[in-house]
Every structure is written in C-alpha cells, then in structure tokens.
C-alpha cells in the first residue's frame, strides 16, 4: 500500500510492468529524460535506460506504426500520445492496422500494445488539449478501450492493459492526475471488461467514466442529502461495455443517467442508452438520459466549466429522470 497521485500510480504501473517483463518498452514524445509533459514516465529512463524508454521523432503515426512493428517482433510497447488532440495523425495506423491485424491473421498475430492518452478537459488548456475522443476508438472492432478514474484503479487497469495480448487504448483523466489515493501494488490485475459499482442506490443509477466519475459521486452525495438515493457505476472499460452490470443496476432503479465529457451525439452514452434500454425495457421508468459536453468543438478554457457536465447538470438530469412525464423540466 502506497499513497500516490493518479499520475504516480500510472508511473508505478509502468515501472512494475517493466520490471516484470523486459519486453515492455515505453516510447513517445518527450517520455525519456523529461518524463513526459505530465511526468507520468518520470524516472523510467533512470531505471530502465534509453533502450527501453525512448523519445521519438515528432510523429504520432510513426509512434503507433513503429510500435506495431515492435510488437510484431515480440515486444510489448506502451506508447504515450502527448495529448488527446494529437492522436488523430495515428488514426489510420490504429484503425486500419492495430485494430484489424489479429482478425486479418485469423488469430495468428497478437499485438500487445498500449496507447496511453491523457484526455479530457478541465485544466484550462488551449485548443486540442481537452478532447474526449474515446467514442472513435470504442466504435472500432479489434480495440479495447479503458478509462481510469482513481489512483488504485489506474494502477491495476494499466497493469492489466500492459498484460493483455490485445491492443488497448488507455484513457487517463488528465485533470485527475493530481488526485491522491491508496494504491495496492500487490492487488491482483483488474479485469479489463468489468464495470465497478462504486455506490448503490434505489432511485437512479449514474453511469460515468474517467474524469466524470468524481462528478457523479459528488452528485450522488448531493442527491442523498436531498433524500434521493443514487447509485454510481464506473465503466472502466468502454469497449467492451460491461452491459450485464449496467443492466443489473438499472433494472433495480429503473432510471439511468450517463455522464461523460464527450459530446453526447454518438458519445459512449448513446450505446449505453441503446443497450440498457434493450435489456431493461420494462423496468425503465424513464428513458436513459445523457449529460455530456454540448455538441460543439471544445470551447475556449474560460468557458469550459459551463461546457463540461458538472454536478448541477447531473442533478438536473436526475430530477428530470425522476419527474419524467410529469412536470416538463427542460435540461
């Protein structure tokens, strides 16, 4: 047990994975001496040297494309994409090559490769540094998409992602990097396809991932004080979705609100709403509601707080769900 920030927990996960398996290598822009712009790879060069932790030329397609080649040679590369908004140059390598290689080979070839992406908003950054682009990857068959929300889970999920024989796109909630928590370095690896019920409730179920989990928990607490019992599920895996757990929880409450920072239109909440409704049609007392970023490009930092789903918007949605069909509240 160590107390660590989420960023440090990820750092420890890479350190321990590299100690456990010398085929694990870390590459990306400025991941070496600098330790990454968020210092998540800090110290890895000192311990493992420049042959296992290296700075690359400034080219994301190159990072993922060469990582695929490294994986074909038997390595287990962990790539860092410096910011969410800079993963798109690698999109072709991710969607056409990384995701499809195993199916293309009819199971002959495995690509154990992790792409770490510091994602989401809330840190007052300039354009392209606050994107929540998980849906693009979750829609892509062949990839696993993971999103961590707290230090102990970040450690376990990244360890599991690196141990997985499938390619994993691993989202890190950059505005939670500095959140502290107790991390159990001996915890057994987390399943990569299981959601976690963080709080049970009777009246409504909040479903969130990554940076929005904290918001959901705060909203549940606030609702509790108003006498409304709200559960919270941390998705952790965005692809595949743990539909069984989601349906089980929603079947109990009859109401669900999905919370994420990405725009709601075709955001992960759309799939959750569709899948949960299919499984809980008769139990639902209101449609699954979605609270997310508005359907705009991410706005300038000074208005991001209004743009991002906050506790008030989540509470309003819970309200809307509970009163659905009665008073016409517009959210």
């Amino acid at each position: 047990m160590v107390v660590a920030t989420l960023g440090k927990a990820l750092n420890l996960a890479m350190r321990d994975a590299m100690r456990a398996d010398d085929r694990v290598v870390v590459l990306g822009e400025d991941v070496g001496v600098l330790g990454g712009v968020f210092r998540v790879t800090d110290g890895l060069t000192d311990e493992f040297g420049p042959r296992r932790v290296f700075d690359t030329p400034l080219a994301e397609s190159g990072i993922v494309g060469t990582a695929i080649g490294l994986a074909l040679r038997g390595f287990r590369p962990v790539c860092e994409i410096q910011f969410d908004g800079f993963v798109y140059p690698a999109f072709d390598q991710i969607v056409s090559q990384l995701a499809k290689m195993r199916a293309r080979s009819r199971g002959r070839v495995a690509l154990p490769l992790v792409i770490r992406i510091p994602a989401g908003g809330g840190i007052g950054a300039v354009e392209h540094h606050s994107e929540s682009n998980e849906a693009y990857f979750a829609h892509t068959a062949g990839l696993r998409v993971v999103s961590c929300s707290n230090p102990p889970d970040a450690y376990r999920l990244l360890r599991s992602a690196i141990e997985s024989n499938d390619p994993v796109v691993f989202f890190e909630p950059k505005r939670r990097y500095w959140d502290k928590g107790e991390v159990d370095l001996d915890a057994r690896p987390a399943a990569l396809d299981r959601a976690l019920v963080l709080r049970t409730g009777r009246d409504c179920t909040l479903i969130a991932h990554g940076p929005s989990v904290k918001v959901a928990l705060a909203a549940a607490e606030a609702a509790h004080e108003d006498g409304v019992s709200v559960g919270v599920v941390d998705l952790r895996s965005l692809a595949p979705l743990d539909v069984d757990t989601l349906r089980r929880c929603v079947a109990q409450t009859g109401r669900a609100v999905v919370v994420h920072e990405a725009s709601t239109f075709l955001g992960i909440g759309a799939e959750i709403a569709a899948a949960v409704t299919e499984g809980c049609f008769f139990e639902l007392k209101a449609p699954v509601l979605r609270v997310g970023g508005y359907n705009l490009p991410y706005p300038p930092a000074k208005v991001e707080e209004e743009f991002l789903p906050g506790v008030d918007r989540v509470l309003a949605a819970i309200d809307h769900s509970i009163n659905f069909g009665r008073t016409p509240v517009d959210v």
Binding site: P57, G65, T66, G69, R73, F75
Partner: protein, 369 residues
C-alpha cells in the same frame, strides 16, 4: 538583388544526380554492360534468377485467367516487375524480415509461399493468406505505405535485441507520397535502423504518372533524408541482385539504412479491374515490353551457353506451377463467419456471444426454408 544573387544562391538545388542513369548490368539487347562485365558473372545465380522469374510470371498469368473466369475477385499483376522482385529478394538472407506492399507475388513465391497462400485474399476467402513468421514475410499491406512504419519498428526491435536481421520494406512510387513512408525514412535515418527500403518505381500509381507524384526521383529524396540510396534498372535481374546484396550487407554491417529505387514497369493494368488504355499510350507499353526482364536475362544465359533443354525444363516447371495454381485456387474454401468471432481478440471478449446470436439466426432462417 543581382549583386547578391550569386552570394545568396541556394545552398542546395534539386539537381543532385544530373545525368546519371541507373545501375545496369544487362543492356536492352541482353549484352552485359561494362559494369556487368566488371561484376563477376555467376551463371548459376543467373539461372536461378531466370527460373524464379519465369515461375512468377506463370503464376501471375494464371491468376489473371482465374480472375477472368470468376475464380478470383481481383488480381494485381506483377508482370514486368519480376526482376525487381526476384533479384532483390534472392539477395537477402532467409532471416531478413520483409514487409511487402501488395504486388510482391514473386517475392512471396521465392520465400516459399504456395500459390494457394498467395491467392487466398484475392479469392475473398481471407484477408491474409499466410503466416508472417513462417517465411519472415509479413502479409500484404493494402493501405499504402503503412508497412514502412511497421518495418521501422521491426528493425528497431531487431536492433534492441542485437540481432543481425535486416528488415526490408517494399513499396511503390505512389505510396512514397504518403506521410507514413516519409516518417519511416526519417525514423530509419535518425535512429540508424537496420532497414532497407526497396521502391519499385513502375512509373504509375493506377492512372497517375510519377511526374504527378513526386518532384524528384525517389532515390534523391531518400538521400536527403539520410538514406544511402541506389538507383537501379529494375528490369535487370543481375543488377538488382548485385545492388541489393551490396545494400543489405552494408546495412547488416551497421552502415545505416538504405534505399533502392528500381526503375521498372507494370506491364498489365493496375488490377484486373483497371483499363490502362485510358491513361497510357501503346508506344510506352511497347517501349517497356522491349526491356522485358525475362527476355533480357535469357539472352545472357543463351550467350552463357545454357542449353535449350534447360530452358524447356524451366518452361515445363512453369506450366506445372500454373496447373498447381489453378488447383490450389479452386480448393480455397470460404471460412465460416461463425469462426471469425473468436479471432478478433486474444483475451475473452463478449463479441463471442454474438457468435451464438449469429448461429441462432442461421438456424432460424434455415428452419424456415
């Protein structure tokens, strides 16, 4: 500005190789050039090269007729490029790992692929016909240029291991315009990777001529990136083999990454769906047909007193391969969609549940029939 023009003339102008012509050992009439004579002529090697080119052409032509008869969905011919492919791949060590594009049938044949493995994806029964590790030959990459970066990563892996394997990436004149290929050039040069790029410049990217594709010959661009670059007559199997041997061994010796630009020509259409008459002239085709790599090498062999019996035997082997190609093609059966659900992920994944849904649906429909 005149006063200063001279002073401020650009350091560098594109004219890097003014009037040079590509390295050539066999001239158009099948005579050895001075360079060819200077280079030890090895008749056994020449025979091997000739034989593999003839076999490749037989397979290629049979595949075209199989496509015409509906046995293949599509075929991309390599006719005319046999010297560029056979000459280069035979100069590599078996352990050298190759990332081809999608037209390297002769390369695959030399590396021991069966006709069935080569045809599978064109028949639509698979996306990739062979095991990439069995022959140190990766699958074809249909998304142009992507394999150049895979090759860079593989080469990096070999270097990290201290292995002496050289990684080889094949691509075309069109693919060379993709960002990925240029990123790979830069990674190779910057990291000094044990990587050899082989560009088959067959003059066309579907209907787009190299004049609309690049501002300079690729071997010049590559040198600018820091790759040692060779420019070769790609329809000359002896020159291709000698230059590739030279290049691959220099890469293995740690002299850094290299590139070979092979001037060649795609005699057929881009694919069996293409009609090249729409964009190129009969004269051009005619001119390149004269430089046919097989005919040129045959002349050399004839002068080298290889007898008719040997040629006859080679043609017989080619005819046999054609027959085998047809048989193996027809034997290629479609997979069962149900099996694919378990082949997308290595670790357990709920998509495997969709398999039972699919099978239930199939039973349902068959039940109704």
């Amino acid at each position: 500005m005149s006063r200063t023009t001279e002073l401020l003339a650009p350091e560098l102008t594109p004219e890097l190789t003014p009037e040079l012509s590509p390295i050539r050992f066999i001239d158009a009439d099948g005579e050895l050039t001075p360079a060819g004579r200077q280079h030890r002529f090895d008749v056994d090697l020449a025979r091997d090269l000739y034989r593999d080119m003839v076999l490749a052409r037989a397979l290629d032509r049979e595949a075209v007729s199989l496509q015409r008869q509906g046995e293949l969905g599509l075929w991309l011919q390599c006719e005319g490029q046999e010297a560029a492919q056979v000459g280069s791949v035979k100069a590599l060590a078996d352990r050298d790992h190759i990332f081809p594009s999608y037209r390297e049938h002769a390369v695959g044949l030399v590396r021991g692929l069966t006709p069935g493995e080569l045809l599978a994806q064109w028949r639509g029964v698979a996306h990739a016909g062979w095991d990439p590790f069995e022959h140190n030959l990766h699958f074809y990459s249909l998304v142009l240029g992507t394999q150049a970066l895979h090759a860079a990563g593989y080469a990096l892996g070999c270097r990290l291991e201290g292995s002496d394997v050289v990684t080889v990436a094949y691509f075309g004149d069109g693919a060379a315009s993709q960002g990925d290929v240029n990123e790979a050039f830069n990674w190779a040069a910057t990291m000094e990777l044990p990587l050899l790029f082989i560009c088959q410049n067959n003059q066309w990217a579907i209907s787009t001529p190299t004049s609309k594709q690049s501002g300079t010959p690729l071997h010049q661009r590559a040198a600018g990136f820091g790759l040692r670059s060779w420019w070769v007559d790609g329809n000359d199997a002896l020159a291709m083999h000698a230059v590739t041997r030279e290049a691959v061994e220099s890469v293995r010796a740690g002299q850094g990454p290299a590139l070979i630009e092979a001037e060649t020509y795609r005699i057929g259409g881009h694919s069996t769906s293409d009609d090249p008459k729409r964009y190129r002239t009969p004269d051009e085709l005619e001119a390149w047909t004269h430089r046919d790599p097989i005919r040129r090498l045959r002349r050399v062999l004839e002068r080298g007193r290889v007898d008719d019996a040997w040629f006859a035997e080679t043609d017989a082997a080619a005819a046999a391969l054609a027959v085998r190609t047809r048989e193996e093609c027809k034997a290629l059966a479609a997979p069962d969609l149900a099996d694919l659900f378990a082949e997308v992920y290595a670790d357990p994944h709920p998509v495997e549940r969709e398999r039972s849904e699919y099978e239930a649906f199939v039973r349902l429909v068959e039940g109704e029939r």
